[in-house]
C-alpha cells in the first residue's frame, strides 16, 4: 500500500487518515499529536492533544490550561493505539520534550521527525534514529552551505569577545524556547558563572526548564536594572527585541545573535550583527544526510524549509524523495 494513502498533507496539517488525527496541525482539530512546543508546531484550540509531558507543560505555559484541550502525555518509547494506528514518541534532540512521531499501520511504518538535530544538547535527550518505510524530515538548513561548527567554539568566541571589549554589554539574541536555555547551559559548562541577565520574555521558559531539572545558574531579570549597570555583562533577549527601545538602554552594546542563519556572512551583516554565533537547534546538512542514511527509509518526504537540495541529494542516493508542502509552517527556533 502506498504510504500517501494513509498519511497525507492537508490544509490543516499532516493527517493520519485511519487514526483520524493530525500531527502539528496549523488550525484547530479534534485530535492532535504535537512534536514539540515551538509555535509553528504547537497551537492552542484543539479538542484533544497528545505529546510528551514536557511539551504539554510548555504548551500550558504558552497558551494557558484552558486553551490546549484535553491532554494525554506519552513518554518516550511508550506505545498506544489510536483507532488502530500505533503511535509512539522518540527523542528528537531539538528542545526540551521534542519528539519524533512513530506511526505503525498494517505493517508499514512512517516516522515524522518534527524538528531535530544530531549533536549533543545538555537540555534534552539525543535524537534516536528509527528504521522506517517513510521518513518525513525537516529541512530548515538543507543546503550544503550549512555546516554548524562545534558549539563549544562558538561559546568560546562569545567569551573571548567579552574579554576583548570588557567595557561593553554583550547583548545576545536567542529564541525564547530552547536556544536560550541551551546557550545558558553551554556557558555554564564553559565555566562562566557570572549572573546572566534576561529580557522579561525569557524568564518564564527558563523557570520551566529549571522545574524540569535543567540547572541554569544565577539568572536575573534585566528589565528593572538601571542603565549604568550593564557594562561588561551578558544580556539575553529574544531576537525581535534587539532593535527596539529596550535594547537601546544598553549603550555601546556588542550585538550578537545565536542562530544557524548566522553561517551566512551577508545575512549577519544585513541584520547588523557584530558577533554572529552559529548555534542551531536544527540539523545541518551533514546531520540531515547522515540521518537519511541511518533511518534507511526507501522513501523520504521533505518539509519545513529548503526541500529542493535534500530531495536532489536523496534521489542521487537512490531514495524516493519528494517535497511535502505543508501550510502554516513558519520558522521558529532556528
Amino acid at each position: 500500500m502506498r504510504p500517501e494513502t494513509w498519511v497525507r498533507p492537508t490544509p490543516a496539517g499532516l493527517f493520519v487518515e485511519p487514526g483520524s488525527f493530525y500531527i502539528d496541525p496549523s488550525s484547530p482539530v479534534d485530535r492532535a499529536v504535537v512534536t514539540h512546543g515551538h509555535s509553528d508546531h504547537a497551537r492552542g484550540g484543539n479538542r484533544r492533544v497528545l505529546a510528551t509531558a514536557e511539551t504539554l507543560a510548555i504548551m500550558k505555559s504558552r497558551f494557558g490550561h484552558d486553551a490546549i484541550g484535553a491532554i494525554q502525555a506519552l513518554a518516550y518509547g511508550e506505545r498506544i493505539e489510536i483507532n488502530g494506528v500505533g503511535v509512539s514518541l522518540a527523542p528528537a534532540g531539538h528542545i526540551l520534550g521534542s519528539a519524533q512521531v512513530v506511526l505503525d499501520w498494517q505493517g508499514s511504518r512512517i516516522v515524522v521527525s518534527g524538528d531535530y538535530k544530531r549533536r549533543r544538547d545538555p537540555t534534552c535527550p539525543p535524537f534516536e534514529p528509527i528504521r522506517c518505510d517513510v521518513f518525513i524530515t525537516e529541512a530548515t538548513f538543507a543546503l550544503p552551505v550549512f555546516c554548524h561548527p562545534d558549539d563549544k567554539e562558538e561559546v568560546a568566541r562569545l567569551l573571548h569577545s567579552m574579554a576583548v571589549f570588557p567595557e561593553r554589554t554583550h547583548l545576545v539574541g536567542v529564541y525564547a524556547l530552547g536556544k536560550c536555555q541551551r546557550l545558558i547551559r553551554l556557558l555554564r559548562e564553559a565555566g562562566y558563572d557570572q549572573p546572566i541577565y534576561l529580557h522579561g520574555a525569557l524568564v518564564g521558559l527558563c523557570d520551566l526548564y529549571r522545574e524540569h531539572g535543567v540547572d541554569l545558574g544565577d539568572l536575573r531579570p534585566a528589565t528593572e536594572a538601571p542603565p549604568g549597570m550593564f557594562a561588561g555583562v551578558l544580556v539575553l533577549a529574544p531576537p525581535s527585541s534587539l532593535g527596539d527601545r529596550w535594547s537601546r538602554r544598553m549603550a555601546d552594546s556588542v550585538l550578537s545573535f545565536a542562530s544557524g542563519w548566522m553561517r551566512i556572512k551577508q545575512r549577519a551583516k544585513q541584520r547588523g550583527v557584530e558577533l554572529p554565533l552559529v548555534i542551531s537547534d536544527h540539523a545541518d546538512w551533514g546531520e540531515l544526510t547522515q540521518t537519511l542514511d541511518e533511518v534507511g527509509a526507501p522513501e523520504v518526504w521533505v518539509t519545513h524549509g529548503r526541500e529542493d537540495a535534500l530531495v536532489h541529494h536523496a534521489t542521487t542516493r537512490g531514495i524516493r524523495a519528494r517535497a511535502l508542502s505543508l501550510l502554516g509552517f513558519e520558522e521558529e527556533g532556528s
Binding site: P144, V145, F146, C147, K265, K269, R306, D308, A309, H312
Partner: protein
C-alpha cells in the same frame, strides 16, 4: 590565513570606524611581516593577481561540487566567494597557511596553475579562511576599509602623524617592509622617488538640481565632463607614466601617448580617442582598453589623446594648494608652451555661462559632443584628494530612454533571492514583429515596485528554465540608459550602457513599445 580571515570577518561586521581602527591596529601589532603588509595591500585594493581570476574559482567549484547543490546554494547565498567557501567539504586543517605564502605563490603562478593551487589550499583551510582566500584571489574584499583608514591605522601603530605616512605610502610596494621597519623604529623613514608617483585624485560629488538654488553661478567654472577615462600623467626625467583614477598604470597599452611625453609635470585629464577632429564614442576607447598590447593598425584606427583640465605639479613645484583659477592659468600657459607640442595633449575648454539656465542649455548639448555632462568647479578650490564637499560637482546629462517589453525574469541574489528582480527586456523587430532581447536591468525600481513586478512575473509565466521565467509579452518597461552601442555579442546587435528601469508602464500596451530601429538610430555613428 586564520588571523587574516578573522580580521576580515570582524571588519565586515563592525560598522564603526573606531572599532575597525582598533581591529586593524591589533592585527598590525600581532602579525609578522610579510603577512601584515600583504593584508594591508589586499584591504586597500593594491594587490592584484594578473593570472588569478574568478573563473578559476568557478572552475574548481564545478570540478569538485555537485552542480545542482552548488546552484541552489549560490542562489541562496548570493555571493560566489562565500558559497564556495561554505560548501567546500572539510578536510585536513591541521596546518595553517601563511598569507605571505599565498600571495607570493599567486603572484608568480601561471594562469593554468591557479585552479590547482586554489584547490589544494581550499582543502587545507577552514570555512572563514576559505572565504578570505577566495575574496583575496578575486579582489573586492569590501569590508569597509578605505586607504585613509589603513593609513590611519599605520600612523597609530607607529605613533607618527598621518601626513608622514601619506607622504611615503604611494611610493612603496607591498609588503611594505621598509615602512614597517620605520614604524617599528628599526630604520629611518623610507626614501621615495617622488618624480614618478601617483597623486590621489580630487573627485566631484553628484549635483542635485536642488543644489543650484543655493550655489552662486559666479563662484563656479564649468567644463565638459568627457566620456573617456580619467588619467593622471606623471612625467619626469625617467619618462612618463599614465595612471587610471585608482592609481593603476595604464601606460603600457598607450605607447603612442607616453612615448611622446617628455616634460616634467603632473597633469589631470581625460583619456579619449579621436575620430577626425571629434571625440569618438566610448566604444572606440573600449577597443584600445581591451588590448594590453596594441598593434600598429590599432594605434592608427583608434588614435588616443589626453584632454587635460588640471595641473598638479609643474616641474618640482606643487600647485595643489592654489585655487582653481590660478591653476587654470598655469595650465593654459603650460598647454600652449609644452602640451600641444606633444601632439597627444589638448586643453579641455571652459564652458562660459552667466547663470544656471544658460548652463542648463549647454548641458543639453553634451550628447552631441560625446560628453557625459558638465563639471562645475569652484573658482577658488584647491586640489584636495578625495571627494571634498561643495568644491566640485558633476552634472550629468539626462539619460536617454526607450520603451521595452519584459521578456524574462530571474531571481536575484542575497536579499532579493526570493524575488524575480533581474529583468531581460526586448524591442520589436518591426511593428507586429517579434521581440528581440536588448539588455538586462537590475535596478531603478522601489521595493514596492519590486513586489508588484515579482507578482506580475509569477502570474504571467509561460515557461521556466531553472531560476529564469519566461513571461507573456505584456508589460512595458521604460528603460533609461547612458548610451547605446553596437555589439556583436548580442543577438540584437545593440548593447546599452547602464540600463535601469526608469518607469513601469502598466498603462502602455506592449504592442506600442519601441522597435529596434528606433534604438539603432541612436547609436553614435
Amino acid at each position: 590565513m586564520k588571523a587574516f580571515s578573522r580580521l576580515l570577518a570582524s571588519l565586515l561586521y563592525s560598522p564603526a570606524r573606531n572599532t575597525k581602527l582598533r581591529l586593524l591596529r591589533v592585527y598590525l601589532a600581532e602579525t609578522p611581516d610579510p603577512d601584515r603588509g600583504y593584508a594591508l595591500a589586499a584591504l586597500t585594493g593594491t594587490l592584484a593577481f594578473a593570472e588569478a581570476k574568478p573563473a578559476a574559482v568557478r572552475e574548481v567549484a564545478r570540478q569538485r561540487l555537485d552542480p545542482v547543490l552548488f546552484d541552489l546554494s549560490y542562489d541562496y547565498v548570493g555571493d560566489l566567494a562565500e558559497t564556495v567557501a561554505l560548501i567546500w567539504p572539510a578536510s585536513d586543517q591541521s596546518h595553517d597557511l601563511r598569507l605571505g605564502e599565498v600571495v607570493e605563490t599567486l603572484t608568480l603562478a601561471a594562469r593554468a596553475k591557479v585552479p590547482e593551487l586554489l584547490e589544494g589550499w581550499l582543502d587545507r583551510l577552514d570555512a572563514d579562511a576559505r572565504w578570505a582566500l577566495i575574496k583575496l584571489l578575486t579582489g573586492g574584499l569590501r569590508v569597509g576599509v578605505s586607504e585613509r583608514l589603513a593609513k590611519s591605522a599605520l600612523a597609530e601603530h607607529g605613533k607618527v602623524e598621518l601626513a608622514e605616512v601619506e607622504e611615503v605610502w604611494h611610493g612603496l610596494d607591498p609588503p611594505y617592509r621598509s615602512l614597517f621597519d620605520w614604524l617599528d623604529r628599526k630604520a629611518t623613514r623610507p626614501q621615495i622617488d617622488t618624480s614618478r608617483l601617483f597623486r590621489p585624485l580630487m573627485l566631484a560629488q553628484a549635483l542635485e538640481e536642488s543644489d543650484l538654488i543655493s550655489l552662486d553661478p559666479s563662484d563656479f567654472r564649468a567644463e565638459w565632463k568627457w566620456d573617456g577615462i580619467r588619467v593622471q600623467i606623471v612625467s619626469g626625467p625617467d619618462g612618463a607614466r599614465l595612471f587610471s583614477r585608482g592609481g593603476e598604470e595604464v601606460g603600457p597599452a598607450f605607447p603612442d601617448l607616453v612615448d611622446r611625453m617628455s616634460f616634467s609635470a603632473v597633469v589631470d585629464g581625460e583619456l579619449l580617442v579621436r575620430r577626425g577632429e571629434e571625440v569618438a564614442p566610448f566604444n572606440d576607447l573600449q577597443q584600445r582598453l581591451n588590448r594590453k598590447k596594441a598593434t600598429e593598425k590599432h594605434l592608427a584606427d583608434y588614435p588616443a589623446f589626453v584632454r587635460v583640465y588640471d595641473l598638479l605639479f609643474e616641474g618640482e613645484e606643487d600647485l595643489r594648494h592654489l585655487g582653481f583659477d590660478a591653476r587654470r592659468a598655469r595650465l593654459e600657459a603650460w598647454v600652449a608652451r609644452t602640451g600641444l607640442a606633444t601632439g597627444v595633449i589638448d586643453l579641455s575648454p571652459l564652458v562660459p555661462f552667466a547663470d544656471w539656465e544658460e548652463l542648463g542649455r549647454h548641458r543639453l548639448g553634451a550628447g552631441a559632443l560625446n560628453a557625459e555632462g558638465l563639471m562645475l568647479k569652484r573658482a577658488d578650490s584647491p586640489y584636495v584628494p578625495g571627494r571634498p564637499k561643495g568644491l566640485w560637482f558633476k552634472w550629468k546629462r539626462a539619460a536617454d530612454t526607450i520603451d521595452a517589453v519584459l521578456m524574462y525574469a530571474q531571481r536575484g541574489h542575497g536579499k532579493r533571492s526570493s524575488f524575480y528582480s533581474d529583468y531581460t527586456f526586448g524591442l520589436w523587430t518591426s511593428p507586429g514583429g517579434e521581440l528581440v532581447p536588448i539588455g538586462k536591468a537590475y535596478f531603478g525600481f522601489t521595493n514596492t515596485e519590486l513586489m508588484e513586478l515579482d507578482k506580475w512575473v509569477r502570474n504571467h509565466t509561460t515557461d521556466r528554465f531553472g531560476p529564469v521565467r519566461q513571461v507573456e509579452p505584456g508589460l512595458v518597461l521604460e528603460i533609461a540608459f547612458d548610451s547605446a552601442q553596437r555589439s556583436t555579442r548580442h543577438k540584437s546587435g545593440v548593447a546599452l550602457r547602464f540600463p535601469r528601469v526608469a518607469r513601469i508602464r502598466w498603462d502602455k500596451p506592449a504592442g506600442e513599445a519601441d522597435i529596434l530601429e528606433t534604438l539603432v538610430k541612436r547609436i553614435p555613428a
